[in-house]
């Protein structure tokens, strides 16, 4: 059983990190950051899958490298780029490389990335992918064929607590749970009261939820996300707090805000997922300030 699974099952508060593979083969930088900033501080590290529909090194290869370096990976898998055969095949490949955690997502549309003329596959959606992983764990593929050796993935999915109307997200979350999702990571949360309302709505869902924490770097970033990023809402006071901070103090402020959100969210959920978006060096301090060491 993966460390992430053990931690969430034991009811201990879990912290995960994230790295985005680079565009090109220079993997040393991200790997170094993972080893120096994330290793032994977080229980597992998500590796994004061609995030933002921009072509990069694949998630599976980077997950494998993390594993070799003693870091437990969470293999993110989107349904945008592969059909049922490729998705299931890559899952089996990941398992034999020692990858135990999978996060199932749909993925940003091709049109948002750097290969806008490519064909979006979407043979499966995220709910169907969760079900496919569940099936592999049970020893059969989507076509019902028996496997010669089944994996035992700890697989999860995502939910957006600040989505409007939230009922649509909750219905889909329920479907992901019913399909076998064993944990959830959320889109970025800044408004603790909205998150609390969301958690109250799903209080009957018996599944661990890890709140997403995206490190807020500036007021401009907050405004951009409020205007353009779905399901992300940075409260006005927080935007102002960042705006009132001198440029050289922003990183410190970012740590302070993230740690404060985590402390407020902690009683409501089972873990947090840290997404530093390049400010990876803030992760150790956030963990420390949030009292998660």
């Amino acid at each position: 059983m993966s460390k992430l699974a053990q931690k969430l099952k034991s009811g201990e508060f879990a912290v995960t990190g994230e790295i985005g593979p680079p565009k090109g083969v220079n993997i040393e930088g991200p790997l170094h950051e993972a080893k120096t900033l994330l290793k032994d501080r977080v229980v597992a590290v998500n590796v994004t899958d061609n995030q933002s529909a921009v072509m990069r090194i694949g998630s599976m290869a980077v997950c494998h490298l993390l594993k070799q370096n003693g870091i437990e990976p969470i293999f993110q898998m989107v349904t945008r780029d592969r059909n049922q055969i490729a998705l299931q095949s890559d899952l089996l490949s990941a398992w034999v490389l020692g990858i135990e955690n999978v996060l199932c997502l749909t993925g940003d549309h091709n049109n948002l990335g750097d290969h806008q003329e490519s064909k979006g596959v979407y043979d499966l959606d995220s709910v169907q992918l969760v079900k496919a992983v569940t099936g592999l764990n049970e020893g059969h593929d989507l076509a019902g064929n028996e496997l010669d050796g089944a994996p035992s993935f700890f697989h999860g999915a995502v939910v957006t607590p600040e989505y409007d109307p939230v009922e649509l997200q909750i219905i889909k979350m329920k479907k992901k749970m019913d399909a076998g999702a064993k944990f959830f990571q959320t889109q970025a949360v800044y408004d603790v009261s909205t998150f609390e309302k969301f958690m109250n709505k799903i209080e009957n869902f018996d599944v661990p939820v890890m709140a997403g924490i995206v490190v807020l770097k500036s007021a401009a970033m907050a405004k951009y996300m409020n205007a353009n990023v779905a399901g992300v809402f940075v409260p006005e006071e927080m935007v102002q707090e960042m705006a009132d901070t001198k440029k050289e103090d922003r990183k410190k402020k970012a740590v302070e805000i993230a740690a404060r959100i985590i402390r407020d969210l902690k009683p409501m959920c089972q873990g947090v997922h840290l997404m530093p978006l390049g400010w990876d060096d803030t992760v150790p301090e956030i963990i420390k300030e949030a009292g998660l060491e």
Binding site: Q84, H109, G120, D123, E167, L168, I171, K174, K175, A230
Partner: protein, 237 residues
């Protein structure tokens, strides 16, 4: 309705070899409604080609609103009504959907053809000047679960089990002017008192029914749909 739009004239001109003689064929049904290949547009295309130095032997569109994609109509038009000028042509420029292009190949016994239009989608003619896509012709209709709205068509990702996390204020992540298809489905089911339908898991589509090329044998009481999903025969008795 097969929605079509004419290719740019320069792209069409580039199709012709020096000295190539062409006969221009239109369609009086869908392409006429799209103003891409009705009688008027077909005649005008012939004139524009001539002005650009292309030898045009003639032009024709089916009479009485006829569809070019019906083989008997194309045959009568090209092998009887316009036989003389059609025979003189080295090739045919077709102002219709892709089905019409192949119908001309069949009607002429395999003469060279050039596409004059891009075929875009099958759509609803909302107004005389506005056609939009509500169906992807997938071969397995699932809108019973979605209040009559097709998620495979209205959602750019074709998601079957609800929206992705990418929509904002009811608009799609690919285009802030475009409604999120799942938001439309949700609102519609809410108005019908059927939101509960959204809780049902939808299995992956059988893409065998969306395979290419498919065919249909039709009869008054019995029809057979052929695809990689096999033969599906429906007895309407």
């Amino acid at each position: 309705m097969h929605a079509t739009i004419q290719k740019p004239l320069d792209e069409i001109i580039d199709f012709f070899k020096k000295g190539e003689k062409v006969f221009v064929v239109g369609c009086s049904n869908c392409a006429a409604k799209c103003h891409s290949g009705g009688e008027e547009e077909t005649k005008y295309m012939a004139e524009r080609l001539e002005k650009r130095g292309i030898a045009v032997t003639g032009w024709a569109a089916p009479p009485n609103g006829g569809s070019l994609c019906k083989l008997s109509i194309a045959e009568k038009m090209l092998n009887e009504d316009y036989k003389e000028s059609a025979k003189k042509a080295d090739s045919f420029l077709i102002l219709s959907c892709g089905q019409g292009i192949h119908t001309v190949i069949d009607a002429t016994g395999g003469e060279p053809v050039h596409p004059g239009c891009d075929t875009i989608f099958g759509g609803e003619t909302v107004r005389e000047d506005f056609i939009t896509e509500y169906c992807s012709l997938c071969g397995e209709c699932i809108v019973e679960m979605t209040g009559g709205l097709c998620p495979l068509t209205l959602c750019p990702k074709g998601l079957m089990n609800g929206p992705c996390g990418g929509s904002k204020d009811g608009k799609c992540e690919v285009d802030s002017e475009q409604d999120c298809g799942w938001q439309l489905i949700y609102e519609r089911l809410k108005s019908l008192g059927k939101v509960d339908l959204l809780y049902q898991y939808q299995a992956p589509k059988n893409y065998g029914r969306w395979s290419k090329p498919r065919s249909l044998v039709v009869g008054p009481k019995k029809s057979t749909f052929k695809s990689l999903a096999g033969l599906i025969t429906i007895d309407q008795d």
